[in-house]
């Protein structure tokens, strides 16, 4: 070990060679050996950082990049490495800072500028999503679509809208088409989405309906991409129609792997029976959830990112609650973090956005009941848990009888709590193929508004396991 520096350089050269051959493990090994001989060499750390990036060890890559910069804060590659590591870890703001530094020091570097701009786009998009509803109107995907001129190839034998409209015939064909694991033509999917966006945007945030004495409605809870179980609900309880109204209480997508089929079916029925088929927003009809729990991946796999953007826009227009005969209130999550919320407050919610971190819109999608009085911090880390007294006060203030909500898996498919004033209904049986729970739906008749519970069990589905589309974060531009 006479000439430590020289030996270290030789080891680094060896490592570089391995790196070129894509033998990252050996590259890491020899960079490490070089570092043992010379632990204050920024280049070794930076190179090893890149090798770690290639082997998806982002934490180590970040540590090495940081070390490189500690040794030499002028080492440009170090900033690149750290930025890339942060991107891979989803820390876009941190990455942007480093890209900014590189661009400042190398104003003529096109690649640096491009990476900065890409990262900036992501940061801006996320910042916008987080911001309180502002005047700035985001451009809709609808504006950049030319559905009229989308052609359907001759070899597509699947269902098509009739004269650009959803009909019962179309729905039946589409459900069979989906059952056999086929894909609906993108033009039809776009047509449905554009039309349902229009319909939903005209609804108030609180939908109010009247059931006549002789009328009834079926309320379903979470379905979570379990298409075959949805078909089973229609088999057991009849297809939706003017005389067989339904309300689906959110969480239509994510976790199950047939989310696209579920949502297009529900949206199709919304178009077919706009006054008798109702859909409310769940916490899974949001970008954050869709990114993590499979829906975004599924749409991108079956269609495109642009289509997912459109889904996201449509979800923002889903109403947040529904009031039946001024007596029964339905929402996906539950009641509020503070007393004094009225139905009028709900009507006024400006819902065309991602839900905020707190407030009534957030609570409607996220809260859970609890057995004890009062309110507690939510086990979910968002919104709250509310007790029977909270429910009592809310119902009294708003002259309601009880609430129906979903959001939580229940072994029997439903649960009655708060002395019958808070009912949970969950319609995804054997949730995630593992819980073994029953699903349930509620019959509500206009004559007495007393909930009648119907349970059902899971049916087999094709071998696409739950969350098949929840991919790791996209391949970011790695240097």
């Amino acid at each position: 070990m006479a000439e430590g520096g020289n030996d270290a350089e030789l080891l680094k050269e060896k490592a570089n060679k391995y790196f070129k051959e894509k033998d990252y493990e050996n590259a890491i090994k020899y960079y490490s050996e070089a570092l043992e001989l010379n632990s204050s060499n920024a280049i070794y750390y930076s190179n090893r950082s890149l090798a770690y990036l290639r082997t998806e060890c982002y934490g180590y890559a970040l540590a090495d990049a940081t070390k490189a910069l500690e040794i030499d804060k002028n080492y440009i590659k170090g900033y690149y490495r750290r930025a890339t590591s942060n991107m891979a870890l989803g820390k876009f703001k941190a990455a942007l800072k480093d890209y900014e530094t590189v661009v400042r020091v190398r104003p003529n570097d096109k690649d640096a500028r491009m990476k900065y701009q890409e990262c900036n786009k992501i940061v801006k998009q996320k910042a916008f999503e987080r911001a309180i509803a502002s005047d700035e109107t985001k451009k809709s995907v609808v504006d950049s679509l030319d559905i009229e001129n989308m052609t359907i190839e001759d070899d597509y034998v699947g269902p098509k809208l009739e004269d650009g409209k959803v009909t019962l015939k179309f729905m039946k064909e589409m459900m069979d088409w989906f059952k056999d694991q086929n894909k609906l033509h993108r033009k039809c999917a776009y047509q449905i989405l554009v039309q349902v966006k229009d319909v939903l945007s005209k609804l108030p945030s609180l939908v109010e309906i009247e059931l006549k004495e002789t009328e009834k409605i079926t309320i379903c809870g979470d379905t979570h991409g379990q298409y075959y179980d949805l078909l089973n609900i229609f088999k057991l309880n009849g297809l939706p129609s003017e005389t067989n109204p339904y309300l689906f209480n959110g969480d239509f997508v994510d976790r199950g792997s047939f989310s696209v089929e579920v949502i297009l079916t529900l949206f199709g029925f919304k178009l077919l029976y706009p006054n008798n088929f109702h859909v409310l927003r769940g916490n899974h009809e949001t970008d954050n959830m869709n990114q993590m729990y499979g829906f975004e991946g599924e749409v991108k796999a079956k269609y495109t990112g642009q289509m997912f953007q459109l889904f996201s826009e449509v979800f923002q227009w889903l109403p947040l609650a529904q009031c039946i005969n001024s007596k029964v209130l339905v929402m996906h999550g539950g009641l509020f973090s503070e007393d004094g919320v009225t139905l009028e407050d709900l009507r006024k919610i400006d819902r065309n956005r991602q839900p905020p971190d707190s407030g009534p819109m957030c609570d409607l999608l996220w809260s859970d009941p609890q057995p004890q009085n009062g309110r507690s911090v939510s086990k979910r880390g968002v919104s709250c848990q509310f007790g029977p007294d909270v429910t009592e006060r809310f119902l009294e203030q708003n002259k309601l009888d009880y609430i129906v909500r979903s959001h939580e898996v229940k072994a029997e498919g439903y649960e009655v709590t708060h002395s019958g004033k808070c009912i949970t209904v969950f319609s995804a049986p054997n949730y995630c193929d593992q819980m073994g729970n029953k699903g349930a739906y509620i019959h509500l008749r206009g004559s007495d508004l007393k909930p009648e519970f119907h349970q059902f069990t899971a049916v087999p589905h094709p071998n696409v396991k739950p969350m098949a589309y929840a991919n790791t974060l996209m391949q970011l531009g790695m240097m």
Binding site: E25, K29, T55, E56, C57, N288, M292, A411, Q434, T472
Partner: protein, 325 residues
């Protein structure tokens, strides 16, 4: 217990069991890439991070790894490293390398698994310097004893064997200098459940007979007689994977019984939900921030159906029965 289909073919069943080591490895690989815990060696057994796993799975593996390591490290520290560790059904586990890095190596670390699994692991060790270097470094001579299904060095030994053939296992371990006089830790993670109750009973009994000062840590399913357990059994059945030993997984008591009835002096067991709540909570808070879990019930159900059971016998009065969470 629930009606189960008998093995259609023992080879198929064994193959399905062997495949579970890949489940564990890929899940650990994903979880570590997300930062749940550090394992610089798992990447040498699973090159790419692979498909995303659900957050509750990541948290479940976190609880498993932290829970087992807690007891394992406590034992080694109690014995002041003057002990042995035998990982039964070790799969592609990286504990040996972790212990070396943390200066917590026992006198010798044994791993046992099916010959085909061991052959794969040996191949990885041979071809990846970060894996072989620590073994070579701790070996006194220039060459390791190496064949298709075993590798032996001073501090690390891996053996291909069928755990259901206890006498053969005993013979092989002793051939590689297993010392019954040393305090010994035996570890099995989702292993006993794949053999019949009588086969696992033999194994556990052999351990009690062979060592006078020892601890046996068993991580596997529990509370299996409810609906969730039934669904798990059915799901695994569809993969030709039969939980032949699920009878002992009825409850924490049945898990403890299997040790107390076969010569072990003390036995404790906790379900993983309890273990999770007893792990250092600041680190738990950290990992819970890594990924948002949408439905906590999923994690709870999962954790309530796995347990850690640890049994001990303590001729040397090391205080093994006090090791806990």
């Amino acid at each position: 217990m629930a009606a189960r289909q008998p093995f259609t073919d023992t080879d198929t069943a064994d193959e399905a069991v062997r495949a579970t080591c890949d489940d564990a490895t890929t899940c650990k690989r994903f979880a570590t890439s997300k930062g749940y815990w550090k394992d610089p060696y798992i990447q040498y057994f699973a090159r790419s991070v692979g498909e995303r796993k659900a957050p509750e799975i990541n948290r479940g593996y976190y609880a498993r790894v932290q829970g087992v390591n807690h007891l394992l490290d406590a034992f080694i520290k109690k014995a002041e490293c003057d002990c042995q560790v035998i990982n039964l059904g070790a799969g592609l586990d990286t504990t040996f390398w972790r212990l070396k890095d943390e200066n917590l190596m026992p006198r010798k670390f044994f791993e046992v698994d099916f010959p085909t699994v061991v052959a794969r692991k040996i191949h990885n060790i041979k071809t990846k310097p970060p894996l072989s270097k620590p073994i070579i470094e701790t070996h006194s001579t220039d060459s390791l004893l190496l064949d298709a299904h075993s590798l032996d060095s001073d501090r690390y030994c891996i053996i291909g064997a069928d755990l259901r053939d206890v006498s053969n296992l005993d013979e092989k371990l002793k051939k590689f200098q297993l010392n019954p006089e040393l305090p010994t830790l035996l570890l099995s993670e989702c292993v006993l459940v794949y053999m019949t109750p009588s086969q696992s009973s033999n194994l556990v009994h052999w351990a009690a007979e062979t060592f006078h000062t020892a601890m046996f840590i068993n991580y596997e399913q529990v509370n299996m007689s409810d609906r969730f357990g039934q669904v798990m059994i059915e799901n695994l059945q569809r993969r030709q994977c039969t939980l032949a030993g699920v009878e002992a997984c009825q409850s924490l008591d049945s898990q403890k019984e299997r040790f107390l009835k076969t010569g072990w002096e003390n036995a404790d067991a906790l379900d993983m939900m309890t273990v999770y709540s007893m792990l250092p909570q600041d680190d738990v808070a950290r990992i819970e921030r890594l990924e948002f879990l949408d439905e906590r019930e999923l994690l709870q159900q999962l954790l309530q159906h796995y347990s850690i059971c640890w049994a001990s016998k303590d001729k040397h009065n090391l205080g093994l029965s006090q090791l806990a969470f």
